[in-house]
Assembly symmetry: C2
Homo-oligomer: 235 residues x 2
């Protein structure tokens, strides 16, 4: 049974790195001695590992980054828990393809190894990375991702600033363009919120409501604390 903790962002205004969701992380990884950390979304893997280890130190969760492993596949196959950190989604996905880790991480998560993603790590859990905010700084062989859930998430979802004079597309416009080309629903997940998925149940947690985009229907706001398991049902 899949157990996924999919966080919008590791950083939230006015709080330390992963601090706002520390309790949820503790519960998610209860009974896990050591979590395998996947740092590939950032360039400096050592520094990233230290940041995460420090942030989770109060929970007692030990962190070991996969970049230390001689055999990353073996590390995935032996992991008791997996945390895929944020950064650039294209760099992360390309590295997972380069190391042939897409299938193994997917299989681990589907057989019940607790998976946690933040930002780019949350994008990874989706069918594709077509709703990432990131710049395509490298070219993965495909935009297909881990497909742990049947819907898309847009992390760091941002409401338009009515006072902005900038003419680039708003986040809402970008996701509407996504729906011009794709029929998969998208959850706009605001910073400070996350989805908790266990098998066929899915709950929205954290301090922000989410916004749900579907083809041919107006976007709707859904309150935090809601049961959103319908997102997991086959269409």
């Amino acid at each position: 049974m899949r157990r996924l903790l999919l966080i919008s962002s590791s950083r939230v205004h006015g709080s330390g790195f992963l601090e706002f969701c520390r309790e949820a992380i503790s519960e998610h990884f209860a009974g896990v001695d050591e979590v395998l950390f996947v740092p590939y979304a950032l360039a400096d893997r050592h520094e990233y590992e230290a940041l995460v280890a420090d942030a989770l130190e109060p929970t007692g969760i030990k962190i070991r980054s996969i970049h230390h492993a001689d055999d990353p596949l073996e590390a995935i196959n032996g992991a008791q828990g997996i945390f895929v950190g944020g950064g650039n989604s294209f760099r992360l996905l390309k590295t997972l393809y380069d190391l042939d880790l897409i299938g193994p991480i997917r299989e681990a998560a589907l057989r019940g190894v607790p998976y946690m993603g933040s930002s780019a790590g949350t994008n990874m859990a989706c069918p594709t990375i077509r709703t990432t905010n990131d710049m395509p700084i490298v070219e993965p062989p495909s935009l297909d991702a881990l497909k742990l859930i049947p819907f898309q998430i847009n992390p760091h979802y941002l409401d338009a600033d009515p006072n902005s004079s900038h003419k680039g597309e708003t986040r809402m416009q970008r996701l509407q363009e996504y729906l011009e080309e794709n029929s998969v629903p998208v959850v706009g997940l605001r910073e400070g919120s996350w989805l908790e998925i266990a098998g066929e149940t899915c709950w929205l947690r954290g301090n922000k409501d989410m916004i749900l985009f579907r083809q041919g229907i107006d976007a709707v706001e859904i309150n935090t604390g809601s049961d959103v398991s319908f997102l997991l049902m086959p269409k």
Copy 2:
């Protein structure tokens, strides 16, 4: 001899669509009876054509959108001038690949057919679309673009808002991540500015300075009105 007008954005705060650069457009397409418009970055091609035709009506430039052509390749090969409009860069690039138009547009521009791009159309002129701001809503077969210039442009370049509480990457951070993975320089082109390229000369025009990002060097601001032909020189 290539003649390129590469605009950051068609819309600028406080001005109509393409209004702020209308004079430059007139000069760029002087002597051209009809400009072939490439609308593929947006979903509604008819509406887009009408918008552009209206915006350029005061210049006397006639617009004909390529989506009317039975044979798009023939339309490119017969074009006196080409304008590739903004929208989603991934959708635009994928459509150009699907229609086998990458080579023909490149060849037309390199033999001297005046090329104008705005936003996504400016991304197209670069070696790749790796510095686009757009969401990867569709998957082109490659991120390689028209390669009309040897450097990258980031259109709609946006300075960080010091008062923002949002934790997504700033534009500068995204471009620094690009340079972690690529050695090609990037021009951050602010809304209201454009590059005029004729053969081996390149000038920055419009009402905003640009910012130049290069690997291993601090980013530098360059005043509008500057000769930036050095960007075209081989490394």
